[in-house]
Symmetry: C2
Subunit: 93 residues, 2 copies
DNA sequence: TACATTTATTGTATTTATACAATATTTAGT
DNA sequence: ACTAAATATTGTATAAATACAATAAATGTA
C-alpha cells in the first residue's frame, strides 16, 4: 500500500525496544503501563511513527530516563557503545 | 464552536511564550526558526494543543534547553521561582 | 511436534497537530 | 489619536498518531 504525502516531522529514532527487552517486558505489558494499545508499541519500536509528546513523557517516566536519552533525531548508538564512551570519559580523569 | 471528542493525551504546559519574550522575538520570528506557521506558535503558547515530539525537539534545540525544562505535564512555575529555588539549594551548601 | 505467546502485517476509523486564510482585537510607537 | 505590528479568533483542510480487528509469521516451551 502506497501513500502520497508531504512530511512535516523528521523521523525519530528511539530505544524503546531495547529498554523494554532489558526489563523483560512484552509489548503488551509495556503498552498497559504507558496506556496505549499494544500494537502502538509495535509501531513505535519499528519507528513507523513518532509518539506524541505526552506519550514520549509517559515512556520517559516509565523507564525513569530523560526523553533525550530515549528519543533522538539521530540514529541512536547501542547501549554498549554508550557505556564504553562513558568509561573512556571517566578514564581520562 | 464545540467539539465532541475523547482525550488521548494529557494537557501539556510549556514555557515557550516566556522564553520567546525573553529573547525579544515575535511569534513570526520564532516560527521561522523552528519551521512552523506563526499561528502554530500561537496555539502552542496558549496551550491549545501539544506539539509533536519532533517540534518539541526543534523548540528545545532552538532555546538550547532540555525538553523537560520547557514542557511538562504539571503547570510550570515562573522562571523567577525556579531561580529562588536554585539559590536556596546553593545556600544550603 | 504441538501449543501458546509474541510480534508483524494489513486495513479501517478516529483524534490531534499543523497549515493556511480572513478578520478582529490588542499593543506599541509616532 | 493614528498607524503599524503583534496577537487572537474562527473556519476549513491535510497529515500524522492512535485504536482496534483480523490474520500471519515467528519464537519459545511442554
Amino acid at each position: 500500500m502506497y501513500y502520497i504525502c508531504s512530511m512535516r516531522s523528521r523521523k525519530m529514532y528511539n530505544r524503546v525496544a531495547i529498554l523494554r527487552q532489558e526489563k523483560g517486558m512484552s509489548r503488551k505489558e509495556l503498552a498497559e503501563k504507558i496506556g496505549v494499545n499494544f500494537q502502538t508499541v509495535g509501531y513505535l519500536e519499528r519507528e513507523e511513527y513518532n509518539p506524541s509528546l505526552d506519550l514520549a513523557f509517559r515512556i520517559s517516566e516509565n523507564f525513569g530516563l530523560p526523553i533525550e536519552f530515549i528519543f533522538s533525531t539521530e540514529p541512536l548508538k547501542p547501549l554498549i557503545e554508550e557505556i564504553i564512551h562513558l568509561k573512556n570519559k571517566l578514564g581520562e580523569l
